[in-house]
């Protein structure tokens, strides 16, 4: 799932793009955002900020993403997959 992040599928993935747009203002070092980008190691975003970004995602898609799920995700791609999964479950 991770690996080379720049596949075409990502560009088509609206959730991926939504997350990137929320992370963009926090991306102080201008890191290229791919599915493999690690929120903590690559973007140096602290855990509370990740939770705040997730809250924006929750309100955007009208879903609830448990804190437990977030603490298990490190890469953007993992977060995207988790959101797709939850969207399916809570649809």
């Amino acid at each position: 799932m991770a690996g080379d992040g720049s596949s075409i599928q990502e560009d088509d993935d609206l959730v991926f793009r939504k997350i990137c747009s929320l992370l963009d203002p926090l991306n102080e070092k201008g890191v290229k955002l791919t599915r493999a980008t690690d929120l903590v190691a690559d973007l140096e975003i602290d855990s509370v900020t990740v939770l705040d970004v997730v809250m924006d995602i929750e309100d955007c898609y009208d879903i609830s993403i448990p804190v437990n799920t977030i603490s298990e995700t490190r890469a953007i791609g993992e977060l995207v997959d988790a959101i797709h999964q939850i969207k399916k479950e809570q649809a």
Binding site: L51, D59, D62, P66, V67
Partner: protein, 403 residues
């Protein structure tokens, strides 16, 4: 090797603070001179960064009660509440707290932190329940959720509508729903709309836990907390608190109108597997409770002091994030600015708290001042004078945007 690598970044930060001046996180009170004074670095300093809201640390009746408990019951219980460390003092204090709050049941824990840990982890079953917490809740509430291992959903700070949406999304097969908020939040001194939260929680069949650690003894006609001020003491489900602030001791409790709260005595690991508060801690908390319950003027003095300081800081042009409260914070544009200001105030003989991200709301850097009813006119003059000097120095070399 490896085990310590994770500390490197924080250690660099802390060592940097040490090198740049004084480290706010390694202050030692070398000699305690009274409820609002201590010697720090050999110098008499006004304490406005401890949570001695009702100034009970040197109350003669509490000290006498502590002495008596030491002499009669010994230095420690050497046991846990569950197994071998419940004395008659623990039971009596549970009854006194329940009576003061007008809630029928109360369970005493070893600290306030442990009380929230014990309530959440004890009440919630990860297989079938869910916890919903205010985004700005204290670390112990987050840790309680983690210990419970249950699905934990955050809602926006002080936003009942945000909770409403999230409760509406909880799957129908979920059995129990527990909502956690605080009465007064200790970073900004802002208070929760408890009444609205009660309505939203109960509409969805959820239970509401209100952590009144910073508001117990302070808000409401009888000092029962923000829940009393909002007129919903008889509607909230669980009330948690601490002995280490208004009661100037150490220990914590969970009170409730539900008799089932007693199940925590066998269903809560933080109740069962740590030592109970020492007899002296219990006795001083009980004596302080008697003082503050019987004398509304203590609370009134705290509010007078808070209002005076809040008005003075407003006049000085600081960015203050909340109305007058026993916690009065001012915001800065950067961690460095807050650190410099903290050091400036200590130089002026005033001790407050510095708080920087990630433990702060909105990633703000701030100085937090905690007011005490024991602050004298002289203390308040020194507080205002020090902040005045800070405001002047910031005007000369602006490190905070004064609006």
């Amino acid at each position: 090797m490896g085990l310590f690598d994770k500390f490197e970044k924080t250690a660099t930060l802390y060592n940097g603070l040490e090198a740049a001046g004084r480290n706010p996180f390694t202050v030692v009170m070398e000699e305690v001179l009274g409820p609002t004074r201590a010697k720090i670095r050999g110098r008499e300093t006004v304490l406005a960064g401890t949570h001695n809201y009702l100034g009970q640390t040197f109350e003669p009746s509490a000290i006498e009660a502590g002495r008596k408990a030491l002499a009669e019951d010994g230095t420690g219980t050497t046991g846990s509440r569950f197994a071998n460390g419940t004395f008659s003092g623990h039971k009596a204090l549970e009854e006194d707290i329940a009576a003061y709050l007008g809630l029928e049941h109360c369970v005493v824990f070893s600290t306030g932190y442990v009380a929230n840990l014990g309530a959440i982890a004890g009440l919630v079953n990860p297989a079938e329940d869910v916890v919903l917490i205010d985004a700005d809740c204290h670390a112990c509430i987050y840790d309680g959720c983690q210990l419970a291992g249950a699905q934990t959903i955050r809602f926006r700070h002080n936003d009942p509508e945000s909770l409403d949406k999230r409760l509406a999304r909880v799957p129908a097969e979920t059995k129990g729903k527990l909502v956690c908020i605080e009465g007064m939040y200790s970073m900004y001194g802002d208070i929760a709309p408890v009444k609205e939260f009660v309505e939203v929680a109960h509409k969805h069949g959820a239970y509401l836990l209100v952590d009144e650690a910073h508001s117990f003894g302070i808000y409401g006609e009888n000092g029962r907390g923000v829940s009393e001020a909002d007129g919903v003491m008889d509607q909230i489900d669980f009330y948690s608190g601490t002995f280490s602030k208004a009661l100037a001791s150490i220990g914590g409790f969970v009170a409730s109108r539900h008799r089932e709260v007693d199940y925590l005595r066998f269903g809560s690991r933080p109740y069962k597997f740590t030592a109970s508060p020492s007899p002296a801690s219990i006795a001083t908390a009980g004596a302080a409770l008697e003082n503050i319950a019987g004398d509304a003027s203590i609370r009134a003095r705290l509010w007078d002091n808070a209002n005076r300081i809040h008005a003075a800081f407003t006049q000085l042009g600081f960015r203050i994030p909340a109305p007058s409260a026993p916690v009065i914070s001012i915001l800065f544009d950067s961690e460095e600015a807050a650190f410099n200001a903290w050091n400036f105030l200590l130089e002026q003989g005033l001790y407050v708290n510095m708080a920087i991200p990630p433990g702060t709301p909105g990633k703000e850097s701030l100085l937090r001042l905690a007011v005490s009813s024991a602050h004298t006119n002289d203390d308040i003059d020194r507080i205002v004078t020090a902040y005045h000097a800070l405001a002047s120095s910031l005007q000369q070399a602006p490190i905070a945007s004064a609006e």
